[in-house]
């Protein structure tokens, strides 16, 4: 993975830069010692490691603003970091870049039930928001599997999803407002407790911008009232086609479950070995369908889903009878990544989205690719919304195997695009999928996205080397090539 060439002048000034930053963030908040920088050298995509220039851990918005202004004035790159669980290398440090950790922004500032929202600092973990309001019957809906650890600021930057996205939306659908510090230190506020400010949707643009547009210092999230009842079905199928068919028919029947997840045989076995969730081991595909709402509604819908599943050839079907049993159904799915981690020294987690009906084709191509590369693959699938997580098993200690795994992953993602899908459904582009962007976008498409970046960060100091395969100067991107005088198109109807 090639990163932008480090700036020697910056590298050789490490200690002076650290001193300057200490004037802004006193005490322990600036880390320059090599050993102490080490914990920050990678994120959830552990295949890549880089030690940052310095780590800064500010505690106030004023400090964030001053740090950014300083870096802006001195042409120093900045990589924002939340909890460092990104699976795409979004918070991978740069050798010549300041790593700006938001971990100390860990307070819930306000819970406002009358407006069904909470104002929180970006370092608060996803789960902590729900924990803070659950005694009052509320929750924050997007629930990435990493929710114990990942920060809400990181969720905003990645537009993270979870198993309940199908019904309740991604991060972007559950935000009301942000406070953002721009690279020049200016603090802007977007949205608030009201809906739909009529202006360019900066809230929408910031969400999923992977730390390339600004640093989020406050988030206003929407809170939802928890449903009265939640129940799940665990359904086994002799083939993934049948499981896919069942998913399509459930939605076709007008049912939008709270969650609808699929696992293939290798994933089922890995999960079962790990957590003993009671999964059937003789099926090719396992579906978890969760329904929530008043008891009447849930019972009614469970009946409908059961009928559909049976008509699609389900060979095993369990309905959770208690909260404990329901959580048991989920235990295997939620632990799928670490479970696969147990059966292989290393794994890469891919994240493509496909139109759901393409699932059989994609799975069978994946089996061929698996044979071709000689690497195993296990699949977990947000089946309701077509988001596929193939886990590619490899061993980094075998020379060349990481490279093979990456190529395999690249082939899978290109296949996703080929069948009408996209490169990433929730993990972000980061460094991991950066060079695959041309599989989905033309140069013009990418240039237009980069022009948006130019409006926020004209010098390209925020998280460079991520998302875009080639860096262009903003001046170059702004240039237009105009051919005057051509007489307009005889063939366009006009009046």
């Amino acid at each position: 993975m090639e990163m932008p060439k480090p700036d020697d002048a910056v590298l050789s000034n490490r200690l002076r830069i650290a001193d300057d930053l200490r004037a802004i963030v006193p005490g322990e908040g600036v880390i320059v010692d090599e050993d102490e920088r080490r914990p920050y050298e990678s994120d959830g995509l552990t295949a890549y490691k880089t030690s940052p220039l310095v780590v800064v851990l500010p505690e106030t918005v004023e400090q964030v603003s001053a740090v950014l202004r300083y870096c802006h004035e001195n042409g120093i790159k900045v990589v924002p970091r939340g909890a460092g669980t990104s699976l795409s290398g979004g918070s991978l440090p740069l050798e010549d870049g300041v790593l700006l950790g938001l971990g100390k922004f860990n307070r819930i500032l306000e819970v406002d039930y009358d407006n069904r929202c909470a104002r929180v600092q970006p370092g608060v973990t996803n789960l902590a928001i729900t924990k803070a309001v659950e005694a009052d019957g509320f929750y924050y809906a997007p629930d990435p599997s990493s929710q114990i650890a990942c920060s809400i600021g990181g969720n905003v930057a990645e537009n993270s999803g979870g198993v309940h996205c199908l019904k309740y939306g991604l991060t972007t659908n559950n935000l009301l407002g942000l406070e953002v510090v721009m690279i020049d230190g200016e603090v802007i506020r977007i949205g608030g407790k009201h809906l739909d400010s009529e202006a360019y949707d900066l809230l929408g643009i910031m969400t999923g911008s992977e730390g390339l547009l600004g640093v989020v210092t406050e988030v206003t999230v929407r809170l939802l009232r928890a449903p009265e009842t939640v129940q799940a079905l665990l359904i086994g199928f002799p083939s993934s086609e049948q499981a896919g068919d069942c998913v399509a028919k459930v939605i076709g029947a007008g049912i939008i479950p709270g969650g609808m997840e699929m696992m293939d045989k290798p994933a089922i076995h890995a999960a079962e070995d790990f957590v003993h969730a009671g999964y059937p081991l003789d099926v090719e595909a396992l579906l978890i369908v969760e329904l929530d709402g008043p008891a009447q509604e849930v019972t009614h819908l469970i009946g409908s889903v059961k009928e559909i599943a049976e008509s699609c050839g389900a060979v095993s079907l369990k309905i959770s009878e208690s909260e404990q049993e329901r959580l048991g159904f989920w235990a295997g799915r939620k632990a799928a990544f670490p479970a696969v981690g147990r059966i292989s020294p290393d794994y890469l987690c891919m994240d493509g989205t496909i139109p759901r009906h393409q699932l059989p084709k994609v799975l069978s191509r994946m089996t061929e690719l698996s044979n071709h590369y000689g690497l195993r693959v296990a699949n977990v699938f947000h089946a309701g919304d077509g988001n596929l997580h193939p886990l590619i098993l490899y061993d980094a200690n075998i020379p060349g195997e990481l490279r093979k795994a990456e190529d395999f992953g690249g082939d899978i993602l290109k296949l996703c695009v080929e069948v009408g899908g996209v490169l990433t459904g929730e993990h972000g582009v980061g460094v991991e999928k950066r060079d695959l962007m041309p599989a989905m976008f033309t140069e013009i498409d990418l240039a237009q996205q980069m022009r948006l970046k130019c409006a926020f960060d004209p010098d390209g100091l925020l998280n460079p080397g991520k998302v875009f395969p080639t860096l262009h100067r903003c001046a170059e991107l702004g240039r237009m090539h105009i051919h005057k005088g051509k007489l307009p198109f005889p063939d366009i109807p006009r009046f």
């Binding site: 999803g161 972007t172 202006a199 809230l203 449903p227 007008g254 989205t353 988001n387 459904g425 702004g478």
Partner: protein, 412 residues
Amino acid sequence: MTQFVPETAEQLKDAVAWAVAEEYSVSVKGAGTKAGFGRPMETEHEIDLSKLGGITLYEPEELVLRAGAGTPMAEVTAALEEKNQQLAFEPPDLGFLLKGESAAGTLGGVIATNLSGPRRIKSGAARDHFLGFEGVSGRGEMFKSGGRVMKNVTGYDLCKLMAGSWGTLAVMSQVTVKVLPKAEKERTILLYTDDPAVAVRALTDALNSPYEVAGAAWLPKALAASAGIDLVSAEESGVAAIRVEGPGPSVEYRCARLREAVGVLGKTEELHSHRGKTLWTHIRDVMPFAAAGDSRVVWKISVAPSEGPAVYRQVLFLKGAEAFMDWGGGLIWLAVDMSNGDMDSKGGAETVRDIVAKSGGHATLVRGDGRLRADVGVFQPLAPGLAALTRKIKNGFDPHGVLNPGRMYDGV
């Protein structure tokens, strides 16, 4: 002035590229139903998208529909209805309000204006259902963003930027949206109350319950009377309305519980499907201010729901003022006389914006004559930092200011 009516995306690109090269400004029009909405523009040419229509992909089981930007909403709605689906954000038909007749516009227009109806509070806005597009930027280049799948974080989410950009950044030729099943059944609980604070208390309690409310509005007495629904006008008082949707048994159960809960605040009633639909369409399309001969200035005010009653009371002092609330108190539709005495002869603009600035939120001038719209602007003025950023974004997409110049703000 030439009006271009491209029939293909390629022709659209040529037309924009020509305008860019010659530095002509163009206005972009779907069906023209919102021509009177936004700051008035004087452009040299016009691009009419009505021939870029037609549904090109509709897969009900995948919840996705793709169509030319110029596809009439009527066509989209009809196709969805056949499969018992809908656009869950409930796009309003502002035709009655703006032109005195039904005019639902085009799918591209609905997205470009990001207008959503009462179900916004539960299902999200137009932007939340917008998956992908293809279009031509103000640089005369064809580009795309998003896709046809529900989950996608590949690159910046330009769909969000296009939704609500009023054609000032690019001309969309094709859009892809998420569609959802229609609810099997709907019911509406009415709580009779003249007090907006009591109403918002009831709406808040309902929205904070686990009963998944899909509409929460309040009409004062005079506007309740004009809705033309017997139960709504029966008590000769204001009416809070709470909509519940879903499978039959669930709707009955939730209605019963909600009625118990809000019943402590006043007398309640229940509207069943047909009359309920009439009421919510009435609210969605701002019909209380669409009567023939009503030429008052109309504002759409979005605030934190808990601020609703206070804002309501303050704006009612304006001359000729009437107002009602939607979105659980978070949306206030206000009609006022154009001239508001010596202090403010600008449709209450200063007062409205002052109030909104204090409470936090956004006021949009939805109906007003061209002079007023030019004079006071249509959208809430932006803080300096945001205004500068907005200009830079515009500049990245449309550096010569060719597309709908000034429709949103001066120079944007």
